[in-house]
């Protein structure tokens, strides 16, 4: 079991040494049920850090912010930032390294074990508690969570309230780290692609109807893109302007920027948005499920990524985010790659 005190101690130590700029970790929310991202700069604030099954966020998203901020600094602080990662999150770090978006020496990775369980789905938990608030969410013995609500302690089997992605997780222990807390507990999902089974079994027409109903709800807040650590492009096809404008960008370049998509949230534009998003994540998505969790309209956007993950596995035997030394899917070619997808 991860000893929280060890995490705090380690955090305090690296901050005191002064070799780390700050730590991206989790802290308890004063009002909400789930933990929140925390940015710890001072050793005495290391006390605030937490690690429990309410730490759902994939914090690697903030490595993207860090890189942007640093690029703007006149005299950049070149020390690495430390980041707390779960197994799935660590795979995101691997992808960012593979794509050379970040350098290994720019991050200090503090891995934590999911204790053979995973993190909680807030909606499932709320339903379980019939609307009551959980004041504390803890790992208990294997496969159970210990919930404190209204002074009462309840043990709930993990399977019942686990986040969907945890049910299909293939890395519940960090795959890359500088320091790791907790032990590796093997837990292989029966079928890592179970969630898409139902949709795959539908006819083409039924699938169309399903996605139309779902995507028609989209309000294009772009939370699913904004929360994703892989959606780091300066120039995204859905933005009205390119953020890569420089002093020497000509009027023609700006005028000729293709408008791939309108802002109107109607079926055609929403489909374009979601298909572009999914395709741009093929072979890159590590299934942290953040996009789906962020969506205020409960659109199962994760399923699109999941389908592509399965294609990558079946067509190219490629699994995302396990080896930083290996080339990424899109930049590798093997003689025996199938070509069916081109036809």
């Amino acid at each position: 079991m991860v000893n929280l005190e060890d995490l705090k101690k380690e955090a305090k130590r690296i901050l005191e040494e002064g070799k780390i700029k700050y730590i991206i970790g989790y802290e308890r929310s004063p009002n909400g049920m789930m933990s929140m991202p925390a940015f710890i700069k001072n050793p005495e604030d290391a006390e605030r850090l937490t690690w429990d099954p309410s730490c759902v966020y994939n914090l690697t998203r903030f490595l993207v912010d860090e890189k942007r901020r640093k690029a703007k600094e006149k005299k950049p602080d070149t020390r690495p930032v430390a980041i707390v990662v779960k197994g799935c999150d660590s795979r995101a770090v691997v992808v960012l390294l593979q794509e050379k978006f970040i350098n290994r020496e720019d991050v200090y990775i503090l891995g934590v074990s999911c204790e053979g369980a995973g993190v909680v789905d807030e909606k499932k938990l709320t339903e379980k508690l019939k609307g009551k608030k959980a004041d504390k969410i803890e790992f208990s013995e294997k496969d159970h969570f210990l919930i404190t609500s209204d002074g009462e302690k309840i043990k709930i089997p993990a399977q019942e309230i686990l986040a969907e992605r945890c049910l299909e997780c293939r890395a519940n222990f960090p795959v890359i780290y500088d320091e790791v807390l907790g032990e590796k507990v093997e837990r292989r999902p029966e079928d890592p692609f179970k969630s898409i089974e139902r949709i795959e079994s539908l006819s083409k027409e039924e699938r169309w109807a399903f996605w139309k109903e779902q995507l028609d709800k989209c309000i294009r807040c772009y939370a699913c893109r904004s929360v994703c650590p892989m959606c780091y492009c300066d120039e995204c096809v859905v933005d009205t302007i390119s953020f890569a404008v420089a002093a020497d960008t000509t009027a023609e370049e700006k005028a000729q920027k293709i408008k791939w998509i309108e802002r109107s949230p109607d079926s055609s534009e929403n489909f374009v948005y979601h298909l572009v998003r999914a395709i741009h994540l093929a072979g890159r998505c590590i299934d942290c499920g953040e996009c789906e969790r962020a969506c205020p309209l409960d659109i199962p956007v994760r399923l699109l990524n999941k389908k592509l993950e399965k294609e990558a596995k079946e067509l190219f035997d490629y699994e995302v985010g396990f080896d930083p030394e290996k080339p990424s899917l899109a930049s590798s070619f093997k003689d025996d790659d199938p070509e069916d997808f081109i036809r």
């Binding site: 009027a251 700006k254 920027k257």
Partner: protein, 274 residues
Amino acid sequence: MEPNPYIPKLAKIIQIKEEVRGARPVKTFRTQFLSENGFSFRCGQCAMLSIFGRGESMISISSSPLVEDYLQFSILKMGRVTSSLHDLQEGDIIGVRGPYGNGFPIEKWKGKNLIFIGGGIGIAPMWSVLHTALGKKEDYGKISLIYGARTSNDIVFKEELEELRKKIEVHLSIDVEEPEWKEFVGFVPINVLEKKPSPENAIAVTCGPPIMIKYVIQNLEALGFKDEQIFTTVENKMKCGIGKCGRCNIGLHYVCQDGPVYSWAELKNLPQEY
């Protein structure tokens, strides 16, 4: 029924003049409304110009309200809409809606000396008020202009400026040396310090890139100008022009309605988000 503020009126381009060629081209357009009921405006106000299928851009009206036959706009080619405007021919039809904004309080400046300080395309909003003042020259004291551009090629209204020299003091500048250039070389704010306009009974109006405005104001203050004597325009991004879309919002103001013209005394009290 009430007029729909989002529907532009159609107007014909009756004249296009190429002011500046090269990398940062500027063209001046004169337009006439197709129907009788166009609009009247105050100097410093703007209009939303439409190219249907490309979008809208907010542009200052650079002609004086004293001119009734046409509206004039001087436009720097910047992006999507302004490039399409630059592609137009005389006789083409565009959409125009407005006028928007507060305009310069020129009635309150009677009897005062007026100093206009501009950079680049920033001369466009000042051109209207400058010519309105010139049209009633007897109402004002001494009028002068300090204007600069990156290169001599980037100077807008070249011929008109030569004409203007016969009537008022005109000081031009460019940012870097050129062989033929006889006047000041350096940034506009420096030229202001050089020419030392007197704050005595004066109003200074300055328009141009945000960074230029910042230093011009600093230097005017150094010369003894009070906050109430300095006027400028704020050009935040705009879409609706009528205080609804929220885009141009700074503090409690919508620049499209409550601006774009501000005295430094007013602007100082707003958040620095321009």
